[in-house]
Symmetry: C2
Subunit: 393 residues, 2 copies
């Protein structure tokens, strides 16, 4: 194989997962094969589709049981979960919040909704997530800890929190980051939008920070149509999460009293019903996705110029979205690969544009981002629907 055949070679591998010539392989399709219709139909039959109904409580309990978090609060989407998580750890207007540049736009937008400023951190090739070691060295240079918290010496602003994102479901190195957080008095909020079903050193992601955010968008490992959740092991923060996401209304038999500016972020019961049924299949989805990843690992091992991304040694990952990394010398073939594969009915996509390069975040503070810049050119996501795990047995 000459290198110029790389796109065709990769597309050929992916096409083997198709069950027919005509099938379109999406990047990630949901599977509804259990109680989804039963539960949703029950909502319609009883009329409980909206803010009242049993499925929201049940969904929260199931999330708690699965993740081990003491409290889960279901919300309308992952962005809302991130927004409230930041408020819960005390992020205020004009604070800085450390986030990777290589993440979905929601991480930065949630910071903006608080009136705070994203401060971009580099990523690590081994995890695709925030590089805790590099962050540590960087903070030594630019940060100073005072009784009121950690401050950026250059901007004078408080650095209140750090929001690592577990990219494609792969946990970042949390131990190092927890040390950094303690040393610099920075709050840890995990963006676990992609990592339901993923464990760091045997404990579920989203349990390591003070609060964390999950997402159940249509392309996630489980979906509620649109939805998300806040996880925390602090019961008081959990109560506050519920309060803030339900318009900060004080419980009363009939009166409408709200004690602060709150949000209409509650998850409707009909979406939670879908979530309950999906949670029943989650362990199965993780198994299937890990099986698909095994197959990808084997076949890509034989292809020079490209590496299939595997979980870091300290993690058990949900392999939510599979990714290959092109060698630096192969990045010139990326766009051709994207074009050829999508034309052939095999959906692939590049990673997100780096956030520090978008117009609204161009002026934000940042460290050296050389690894993120390299990864951006090299990552290509490939079909990851859980049912493809069956075909790869």
């Amino acid at each position: 194989m000459t290198q110029s055949h790389l796109p065709e070679t990769i597309v050929g591998i992916l096409q083997e997962l198709k069950s027919s010539e005509k099938e379109f392989l999406a990047l990630h399709e949901p599977s509804f094969q259990m109680n989804e219709w039963n539960y949703v139909k029950e909502c319609l039959d009883t009329g409980w589709v909206s803010s009242v109904g049993k499925y929201v409580d049940q969904f929260e309990s199931m999330l708690q049981e699965y993740t081990g978090a003491k409290r889960a609060v279901a919300v309308v989407n992952g962005t809302a979960a991130l927004h409230i998580s930041l408020l819960l750890v005390g992020v205020q207007a004009n604070d800085e919040v450390l986030i990777p540049s290589l993440t979905f736009i929601a991480t930065a937008n949630a910071v903006s909704y608080c009136g705070a400023i994203p401060h971009f951190v580099d990523s690590q090739e081994r995890t695709l997530g925030l590089d805790s070691g590099k962050l540590s060295s960087y903070l030594e240079e630019i940060a100073v800890v005072r009784p009121e918290g950690c401050f950026n010496k250059h901007t004078g602003r408080r650095i209140k929190a750090v929001v690592p994102m577990h990219t494609f479901g792969h946990p970042i190195e949390l131990d190092t980051l927890l040390e950094v957080c303690e040393r610099y008095q920075i709050e840890l909020v995990e963006d676990a939008a992609e990592s339901l079903g993923s464990y760091y050193k045997g404990k579920h992601t989203g349990n390591w920070g003070k609060v964390s955010a999950l997402s159940f968008n249509g392309n996630k490992i489980i979906t509620t149509g649109g939805g998300g959740a806040i996880l925390t092991n602090d019961q008081k923060l959990g109560e506050m999460a519920k309060h803030l996401t339900t318009t900060a209304k004080i419980k009363h038999q009939w009166a409408f009293i709200h004690d602060q500016v709150g949000y209409n972020y509650r998850l409707p019961n009909i979406n939670a019903a879908l979530g309950c049924a999906q949670m029943e299949s989650l362990s199965f989805f993780v198994e299937q996705k890990r099986r698909l990843a095994e197959r990808y690992k084997d076949v890509f091992a034989k292809i020079p110029g490209v590496t299939f991304f595997t979980e870091p040694p300290f993690a058990k990952s949900n392999y939510w979205l599979n990714a290959i990394l092109l060698d630096e010398a192969m990045t010139c073939y990326r766009d051709e690969l994207l074009e050829v594969s999508n034309k052939a009915g095999v959906m692939t996509r590049p990673v997100w544009s780096l956030l520090h390069e978008l117009p609204m975040y161009k002026q934000c503070p940042k460290m050296d981002l050389s690894v993120a810049l390299s990864l951006e050119k090299r990552i290509v996501n490939i079909p990851s629907s859980s049912f493809l795990g069956e075909r790869s047995c």
Copy 2:
């Protein structure tokens, strides 16, 4: 009847709508009797439950056709619709936005999300909505128009917009307000959360301001579980509404480029599916609700001390949520009425606490609010589910 029997008399009237002793009469229950099951099941069968799928487009078209607005953009709830509507007319941090004190908390919260300040306006007994005449006199005192817009002489802040809410579905007097808006260069955003199916002088509410917001929460005349929409007759604003509510992502075959801070406010396809089926029943719901209102009007006409609220002369209302107004002398019986009726399985509720009295909005500017203060003590909402219209034939 002595006046002290007023609560029992009212509860007696309401109980006649029960079909059995044991039935609980909710304030407002949705009805799913048409294609709700079919459309929702189709979403599950095809896997299109989330951000992609035909029902969002279809729901938006149906809303356009019904309301006559050129563009409807479906969003995750009415609060989100209000938030984006305010951004679309140019509300910025530190602006003042005129809103009634007698409205649901979302109106004020949406102003807060923009970093702007609610400025509370009194209500009119004939409409239960913002008093345009009183606002006009008030602005003569406190406002000054400069080339950059209208300013509050006392606070120095710009008064950018006014957000009347069509309370319980009854349209406010829009002609007077439009004159005020033009004279003072203030943008009109209608909070039409409660008034889908209501017309002012023959034209649907939500068509009079530059943009407006609808809600499809579980208790509304139609429901999507949770949902809302932005209406506008300005195609450019409509495009911008869609852009801002879908993370401000620029259309591209695969790249993730966002050109400003956007929001994750899109309505999931599964909720839109429910909305499509509900829209098919909307005209029927309005008929049923108007029939129920006719019955209430007749029976309450015979009860001294209380008035059933009827649509203003210039309006055709959806009678979303029926309300009775106690005479001033009868307000001492309000809490007893609420207690007796709810105990008897007939749900009633008072109106919202006035927003200018809540802790987070206490310091906001306000005009004399004597009518709102009176209405707050006198309004009691009574069961309004559309199917009760059948029982009142």
